[in-house]
Amino acid sequence: MRFLLIEDNVQLAGAVVDRLVLDGHVVDHAADLETANDFVATTGYDLILLDIMLPDGDGRGFLSRHRKQESQTPVIVLTARSEVADRVGLLDLGADDYMVKPIDFSELEARCRAVLRRRGGAARNLLPLGDLQFDSLSGTLKFPDEDVQLRTRELRLFEVLANAPGQVFSKASLVDRLFSYDEEVSENAIEVYVGRLRRHLQKSNVRITTIRGLGYKLETE
């Protein structure tokens, strides 16, 4: 997905960009509203991440202008303010969602997904895998005769594996992607979700293979 990050704190922005790129997204960073306006005018984004306190103005102004121009690009506001009044006001101004800094990236991902689903899938892309198609936005596996809806963690696990078929992922790295940091989980928890996915995939030619001592990979027969 292509993100526009509008955030004036360079360190924080750098970290967010690195983190999003790590997940395979493309991110443009604007440190002020002027740059942001230039980016928006020339590039189509799937999602805009907007900070509120910016050096050349208030992010809320950008938000209401953005909505007045009837742009369909969803906006998630990143705010350090924790006051709910602020949040309610933001939603009234046309923000699709908001997150309080510091951002939890798995939460950000979940919120992006929810927002895009609500918006009717601006970036709906079906990923063909063997004899099935994977709709990452709605989280469904589309078999020729039926659709299977994945639960959140199954979906995230499948997404990680399907985005790089053939690549081996260690249990540890999968735990990082699936669980938030305040959960005490052992690496064995991954086996549960791999088991569930394997059951879903039984009647297709897509397989999740165990590489002993290394991890898992996705492949088609």
Partner: protein
Amino acid sequence: MSTPVAHGSIRRRLLLSLLVSAAVLAVVVYFMVQSVARQVAQESQDNVLAASALSILDSARFSGGQINVDLPYSALSMLDSISDERVFYAIQLGDEFLSGYQNLPSPESTPGGGPAFLSAEFLGEEVRIASVQRRVSTDIGQSFLQVSVAQTLSGQKQALARISRTSMGIGAGFFAISVLLATIVARSTIRPLDRLTASVSRRGPKDLRPVAAPVPTEMVPLVTSLNSLMRRLQHSLMRSEDFIAEAAHRVRTPLAVVRTKAEIVQRKSDDPETRAALKEMIHAIDDSSRTAGQLLDHAMVTFRLDHLLREEVSLLRMVHDTVERLRPVSDLKDIDIDATGTEDIIIDGDPILLQNALHNLLDNAVKYAPSGAQITVSLTQREGAASISITDTGLGFPEAELDHLTERFSRGANAQNIVGSGLGLTIVKEVVEAHGGKMQIGNNTGGGACVSLLFTLS
């Protein structure tokens, strides 16, 4: 907030002073009318008496040292014409009594020779006496012929009593009209003050706009000071709200940077020791960030509780909004949140605080419940109270600590590995109690925690 001690009322004081002046004026009017009437009555009686006496004096004839006095008919009839009074007269030459009533007192003669008057008692009645005199020559030399005419005063007294009654009526009427006018004046004088009071007290607790309505000159200094007070108050309120927001920003942004960097390094690292260390780091950062957030939340809540808003809040909508807001987070842990209750309940309160409280509770439930748990939020009305109950299928609260969990920085013994500050429940409790409600904490019989917020319905 304490109500200032009331010391007297401007309206009452104004009314009282207007009425006292009106009463004094009414009494003055009464006495003036009476004295004028008495004077007029006396003057007219004096004129008639003097005329009568003069006509008697004029009729005196001297012939051969004799004095003949014919009492002219007109002299007494003009007295009769006034009223049914008794009339007396006396004629004297020098000290010698000639005719009439011998003991009739006579006034001191005036030096100019004009008529002299006297009020006196005669034969048991009050009389008014007029007396005139003329110098005459007699056998024994120069002497004064003096004619006195007297008339009783009962008729005049009656007339005066009538006038007195009338003037008393006039005074009373004057007073009655004054009371009416004073009431109107007092009310219209107080009206701008009432208007100002109404316009200030009608405002919501957050409305600190200056008073713009025109006020009388005398009230301009008061309104100016009031406006300047409100400006200062607003400034200081804004400063504390901005301070809270700014503090949140300053504290959390660097934490966000560190956290993100740590997460990236952890993702890229294969060394189990490094990974474990980074995980602990991230855990600690989340902990302080959350604590900072809740401290600021707590400050915001305390601040807002001092200026508690009272608006209509739809609980059904609030529950729905809050649940939807948290759904992406709960989805991450495969936790299902279910909101039950279809009937809306409206309560009066601060929507922001109430939502904050509910959000805190639900956030807690999502945080502490294990993956795959079910959370149910139900809105019901029972025994005259609105109840929002949040139950989960998680660990539940440790029974032994149920009483202490709402104390600041108190955390359940089974929650040590989960990020939290121990302020969440304190915030919820304070918000609910400020709205006249109460919070009940317990465990379900089948396991899992249950927290209910009860708001009494008026």
